[in-house]
């Protein structure tokens, strides 16, 4: 093997061997076991067509379905210091990061975007559970601060989709400090009189639930999402008894007064548009799938970040 083959091969591999054919054409629903064709599943926003089980969805997929015409501009998130504690468990933290970046294709566990939903300009942030369990470290903190700052400067509501196992242990105390940090961000929104709506998705637990995810003006959860501070296993170990059916699931929290609503993913967009417009005192929106806003609209023009239009989502009719 000479240096040329060593040098060139990986590049060519990455160009040709991936993509073309999605690796898994079929996905098995973890709830009812039905085999679902990938296009059918993504067309239904990763909700099982047979049992309505809500599977994970990446921020990109969610935003493509949320924003008018699937178009949004990413809001830049300031890059934090990498591996601030030089953390090492069985693997080094930077290696874990690289593996997560490779498997998800995302730089970190949260995506922030600005765009329109039902012709209503908003800022949205979505957490990516597939990236190290969506865990909250410095980057997620920075992302929420960036989202709040953008919302305040553009006078827009913030809609946040939470999904996380909790704080990122590899950032130690600095991950814990994201609890007060993100709370400061939410304070800024509230002071500016802007709506802050949290959509709690499966799972939202630990320090994430105990900070920004529970400080919304309105809390909406997706069906059957696990939402808690301490996980069910920890509680069973502590109290040494089994827990009731549906404990810590969205419907259970709704019954216990912790949420305003439990709404299926397919109905979320219309509900968010409606709620946001009422909170802002705007007239009723034209509902349904809308094309992307015209590029000359003042909202888009005011956006300093480069607009990265994503592929319009495959819409079901």
């Amino acid at each position: 093997m000479n240096w040329i083959s060593n040098y060139v091969r990986p590049k060519i591999n990455s160009l040709f061997s991936r993509r073309e054919v999605p690796e898994n054409l079929w996905t098995k629903c973890d709830e009812c076991g039905t085999m679902l064709f990938h296009r059918e599943l993504s067309g239904n926003l990763n909700v099982c067509t047979s049992c309505d089980h809500h599977m994970g969805i990446t921020p990109h997929e969610r935003f493509a379905a949320l924003f008018d015409g699937g178009v949004y501009a990413e809001v830049k998130v300031p890059e934090p210091l990498a591996d601030p504690l030089h953390f090492r468990d069985q693997k080094r933290y930077p290696d874990r990061m690289k593996a997560a970046q490779k498997s998800t294709g995302s730089p970190e566990a949260m995506l922030v975007a600005q765009g329109e939903i039902g012709r209503t300009p908003i800022v949205a942030a979505a957490q990516d559970f597939s990236f190290m369990g969506g865990s909250m470290g410095m980057y997620v903190g920075n992302a929420i601060i960036a989202a709040a700052e953008r919302a305040v400067s553009a006078k827009l509501p913030l809609i946040l989709f939470s999904a996380a196992g909790g704080a990122r242990m590899q950032e130690g105390i600095l991950s814990l400090m994201q609890m007060p940090r993100t709370t400061v961000a939410i304070e800024m929104l509230k002071e500016a009189g802007l709506p802050y709506i949290v959509v709690l998705t499966h799972p939202t637990t630990g320090g994430v639930t105990a900070s920004y995810a529970m400080l919304g003006d309105i809390h909406i959860a997706e069906p059957n999402a696990l939402i808690c501070f301490a996980g069910p296993r920890v509680i069973e170990q502590t109290i040494r008894e089994s827990l009731p059916e549906g404990f810590q699931r969205a419907e259970y929290l709704l019954d216990h007064g912790m949420l305003d609503r439990v709404t299926p993913r397919g109905k979320l967009r219309d509900e968010l548009i409606s709620v946001v417009r009422m909170l802002l005192g705007l007239p009723p929106a034209v509902m349904g799938d809308l094309p992307a806003p015209a590029p000359e609209t003042p909202e888009t023009a005011a956006t300093p970040d480069p607009v990265e239009p994503t592929e319009p989502a495959a819409k079901q009719v």
Binding site: M169, G172, L176, M177, P180, R181, E187, G206, A210
Partner: protein, 320 residues
């Protein structure tokens, strides 16, 4: 009786020998053992000093959890006068894991709030080992509101393994209560000073420690997760707590380097449990010192100070 930690065993032996000698001398008054006993004493003192000078993070965890360490109640009784406990969250219950009320530090009225772990089996159960339920955080919110309205500084003493992981606690909104308490800490227009006196366990600690100034006792810890919990998740082996304690950077010294805390309060030789009175007095001085400086700031400046402190936290990592 002194409670010895595992790593203090060599010390226990020496101190035990000295004690035996003295007991013998008490039984036989003509025996003179003072010289030998004094030699053992000085050997023990040197060993104690050496042990505590170089405590590794896992040993620090053990010291931070030492049953003889002064707890919140001890600090309140010794440092403050006219302590008037205020109870209840006006909603559901009074949580005994959190104590708080009006008190005077010198002449100055303050609102003191803290986690209390208890000191024997009965009080430990009554205090739920210092693990608060939602009611505890909601009581704290109520007390901070009173302090804010009447312009009284707030002092919080943090010593908790974490918020209580129970069925009822979850049903009544443990996460929401913690989130609201953190939010309240950020909102009040009065000085808020926090001292971590033992264990600063995760969200349960943050809810009280989102303060203008945070100090830690020399051998206290403050962490996102217990070393045992971290070990069982990341090493898949709870016995790797030494490695986890090391990696988490949970000591006062590391947190000071990271810019997360403002001051390390020195402990007497052998830890706060060996000389409770000195430890308590030193904490009192630090609180007084912080309050003297913060009281000059306006309400707005105090709120801004807290926000900026947390927004800029972690920018420099270990180089801070």
């Amino acid at each position: 009786m002194t409670h010895y930690l595992e790593f203090e065993k060599p010390l226990a032996e020496i101190e035990g020998k000295a004690e035996e000698l003295r007991a013998m001398a008490r039984a036989n008054p003509e025996m003179d053992v003072e010289k030998e006993a004094a030699a053992l004493d000085s050997k023990a003192a040197t060993l104690l000093g050496d042990l505590y000078k170089t405590l590794d993070p896992w040993r620090k965890c053990q010291v931070a959890r030492h049953p003889d360490r002064p707890h919140c109640k001890d600090y309140i009784e010794a440092l403050f006068s006219e302590y008037t406990p205020l109870a209840g969250d006006r909603n559901f219950a009074d949580d005994h894991a959190v104590m708080g009320g009006l008190a005077r530090l010198g002449d100055r009225p303050v609102m003191v709030i803290g986690h209390e772990k208890g000191h024997d089996t009965k009080t430990r159960i009554e205090r739920n080992f210092g693990m608060a339920r939602p009611e505890g955080y909601r009581k704290a919110i109520r007390l901070m509101d009173i302090a804010d309205r009447f312009n009284i500084p707030v002092v919080t003493l943090v010593d908790t393994p974490g918020a209580y992981p129970g069925k009822g606690a979850e049903e009544r909104g443990q996460s929401e209560a913690i989130a609201r308490a953190t939010e309240k800490c950020l909102q009040i227009g009065v000085p808020l000073v926090s001292v971590i006196i033992g264990e600063g366990g995760s969200g349960g600690a943050v809810a009280f420690a989102t303060a203008n100034r945070v100090a830690m006792l020399e051998h206290s810890i403050y962490s996102v997760i217990s070393p045992e919990g971290c070990a069982s998740i990341l090493w898949k082996d709870a016995e790797k707590m030494r490695e986890a304690a090391e990696a988490l950077r949970l000591t006062a010294q590391d947190l000071s380097r990271l810019g997360v805390i403002d001051r390390i309060i020195p402990e007497p030789r052998g830890g706060a449990q060996r000389d409770r009175r000195t430890a308590i007095a030193t904490v009192g001085e630090a609180i007084g010192d912080f309050l003297d400086k913060l009281e000059k700031k306006s309400r707005k400046a105090l709120i801004r100070d807290r926000r900026e402190k947390f927004l800029s936290m972690g920018e420099k990592g270990l180089a801070a």
